[in-house]
């Protein structure tokens, strides 16, 4: 949910100067402690989660060490586990999705923030928010029943015909694969980019635009050369947020990526992602090493999304503060 991440200027605790005892008598200390317990439990749960993932992946860490990330054999029978194809698949599908989603999302955000009248903008934003609420399994169903056949019959043959000289678009058209997964992911992350970018663009102070226009810039030039650069950090933030979401996405990807651990230059090739292999193999991994390798993949995914989310938050907060700060001045 991209709606609630910005901090409202703090209302701040209204600290009284009464003594501890009187506060205790009035129940304030008790209320404080009770609410503190709830707040602390959030921290506790998060720590426990990290601990469980760490604890649960001891075996592969000891056995494979860093090779876990460098080798590409995933063989449950001979107990060789290398995560490279999954990491590759995760990154490639995320990259494809961003290539599609970023221009589309930013374009739409510019339209909503700069051009559309407030009523229209709010209505469209409402639809975009609804789009963000569509569960991923539904994207998966639409993916296998609609996108995959379309890709197999029309899109991939057409791409092969026109751009087949590139290694990216070679090989048989299976329908499933990196490209299809990337496209489905793109559709899923666009709403995130739009919502956040729109907010950030709206926070760019009016005078920036007016200054550019009064200097003779066209409307597009004022938008593209002044407003967008002003909001750049926040827009990047929205992209990182979308990236984090794309990396961790499970169901839709599992249903359309083809589930084959290969590293291939061709986007038509079926592949595999970290989240998908966990979903497929976690309940059926018989050996401890296999199970723990999957948990280690979970840990990798956690760290990846953690870093990206942190980065995104920083950027978004940075711009909105810059924007609103100048706006108020």
């Amino acid at each position: 949910m991209a709606t609630t991440t910005n901090t409202v200027p703090s209302a701040g605790p209204v600290a009284g100067s009464r003594s501890f005892l009187s506060r205790l008598r009035q129940g304030d200390e008790i209320a404080r402690m009770i609410t503190f317990l709830f707040a602390a439990s959030v921290v506790l749960v998060t720590l426990l989660l990290v601990f469980e993932l760490w604890q649960g992946s001891v075996l592969p860490r000891h056995k494979f060490g860093f090779n876990f990330f460098r080798t590409s054999v995933w063989d449950p029978i001979f107990e060789q586990f290398g995560a490279l194809p999954f990491i590759y698949g995760t990154l490639v599908t995320a990259a494809v999705s961003l290539l599609i989603a970023v221009p589309l999302g930013i374009g739409a955000a510019i339209f909503l923030a700069e051009l559309a009248p407030a009523r229209v903008s709010d209505t469209l934003e409402f639809f975009i928010d609804l789009l963000a609420a569509v569960p991923s399994v539904i994207y998966g169903v639409l993916g296998i029943f609609i996108v995959v056949p379309l890709m197999r019959q029309y899109v991939q043959p057409a791409l092969k015909h026109s751009l087949g000289f590139l290694p990216l678009f070679q090989g048989p058209a299976y329908g499933v694969g990196f490209l299809t997964a990337g496209i489905v992911l793109a559709i899923m992350v666009i709403p995130y980019i739009i919502s956040v970018s729109r907010e950030v663009l709206l926070s760019v102070p009016r005078d920036q635009r007016e200054a550019a226009l009064s200097l003779g810039a066209t409307r597009w030039e004022s938008t593209w050369k002044v407003v967008v650069p002003f909001a750049r950090a926040g827009i990047f933030g929205s992209i990182f947020l979308a990236l984090a979401r794309a990396l961790g996405e499970t169901m839709a990807v599992t249903m359309v990526i083809g589930n084959t651990p290969v590293i291939s230059a061709s986007l038509f090739s079926p592949g595999y992602s970290i989240a998908a292999v966990i979903a497929n193999e976690f309940t059926e991994a018989t050996g401890d090493l296999h199970t723990e390798s999957l948990i280690e993949l979970g840990l990798v995914l956690f760290i990846l999304t953690f870093v990206l989310n942190g980065f995104a938050r920083l950027l978004i907060v940075a711009t909105s503060q810059r924007g609103s700060g100048r706006g108020q001045a």
Partner: protein, 342 residues
């Protein structure tokens, strides 16, 4: 709003409590290969015993073994028997054994999509293993053509398709390949999911079938009932006596005949590449995995009751779903073994 939420809460709580002890619920998980059979059986059995619900989730053979060993389900199911190591792991963990009970027989068939070829193809052991090892890459390779005289095979590349998730269908296929090809045995081995030398992975029967149907020149393996239900073409396979056999109830039953006579006490037997002139070579039993000890007596009796029913009346449902019945000797032996469940 609050009132609605409150009402919902009450209704749900009541529903939860009311249903809490109206029925005995037993959970099993595992093999997908016999899933159509099992879901039919458990449904029929529930109709006869309204107080017993046997919930079966087809999460894959590997999952069946793992979950029953972890103790998260009451029984498991698998298409490949547990190996000695897995049996020991179970014994170490629980202090008692786990027993295998064969339920039905099924078969894997080689399916293909060859535009312009309507003849039913013959496959030798060398052809199948060669294709899956990536050594035979063209449809008109002499290893395939020699067994199909009179059929004009295209010079196209073979697109190998296999299951991507752990699957009993895969176990049976790789068990067969390990028996007919030394190279496969040492390089790849047998298992529910293996490290494939070549090919394209498809998740689940559906996408495997879809891939074969939509990819010209493809070759893959599916469970017999599945090929029949989806009218996919499938070929004959040469058995150990040198005859090309098509998978059907008769040829699968014939494959079990040899094993029926000298069935080991723990029922862990592979009948791929079985002897017998009419035996279909890629056949297999599929097993329920039942712990030898139950702390809960009602559960124990319920499971034993079901296995008894399955071995008698239940066997009448098999042929409608293209599974072969268990040989009589095996049924008798299983009834005896059922006494070991305590």
């Amino acid at each position: 709003m609050k009132r609605i939420t409150g009402l919902l809460l009450v209704v749900l709580a009541v529903a939860g409590v009311l249903r809490a002890d109206s029925a005995l619920s037993i959970t099993g998980a595992g093999a997908t290969f016999p899933y159509p059979m099992y879901s039919k059986w458990f449904d029929e059995y529930h109709k006869k015993n309204a107080n017993l619900e046997i919930n079966y989730q087809s999460i894959g053979s590997g999952g069946g073994i793992k979950q029953v060993t972890e103790g998260t389900v009451d029984f498991g199911a698998t298409d490949g028997p547990m190996n000695d190591e897995q049996l020991k792991a179970f014994q170490d963990k629980h202090g008692f054994r786990i027993l295998h009970f064969p339920t039905v027989l099924g078969a894997d068939v080689p399916s293909y999509n060859l535009p312009g070829v309507s003849a039913e193809l013959n496959f030798t052991q060398e052809a199948i293993s060669g294709i899956f090892l990536g050594k035979i890459t063209k449809w008109n390779d002499p290893a395939i053509a020699a067994a199909n005289k009179g059929v004009s095979l295209p010079a196209n590349d073979i697109v190998v398709v296999h299951r991507s998730e752990g699957s009993g269908t895969t176990y049976i296929w790789t068990d067969y390949l390990s028996k007919v090809s030394q190279e496969w045995k040492t390089k790849v081995g047998k298992g529910a999911s293996v490290n494939w030398p070549v090919g394209l992975g498809a998740k689940g029967n559906e996408s495997l079938a879809g891939t074969i149907k939509n990819t010209p020149n493809s070759f893959g393996y599916v469970e017999l009932i599945y090929a029949i239900q989806n009218s996919m073409p499938y070929g004959r396979v040469r058995n150990s006596s040198g005859a090309f056999i098509k998978a059907d109830l008769v040829s699968v039953t014939a494959a079990a005949a040899g094993a029926a006579k000298d069935m080991p006490d723990d029922f862990r037997v592979s009948i791929t590449d079985a002897p017998g002139k009419t035996a279909y070579p890629i056949s297999s039993f599929t097993w329920l995995l039942v712990p030898a000890n139950f702390s809960d007596a009602t559960k124990r009796e319920a499971i034993k009751g079901f296995v008894k029913w399955m071995l008698a009346e239940g066997q009448n449902y098999t042929e409608a779903l293209s599974y072969a019945k268990l040989p009589k000797e095996v049924v008798a032996k299983e009834l005896k073994a059922l006494n070991d469940v305590q």
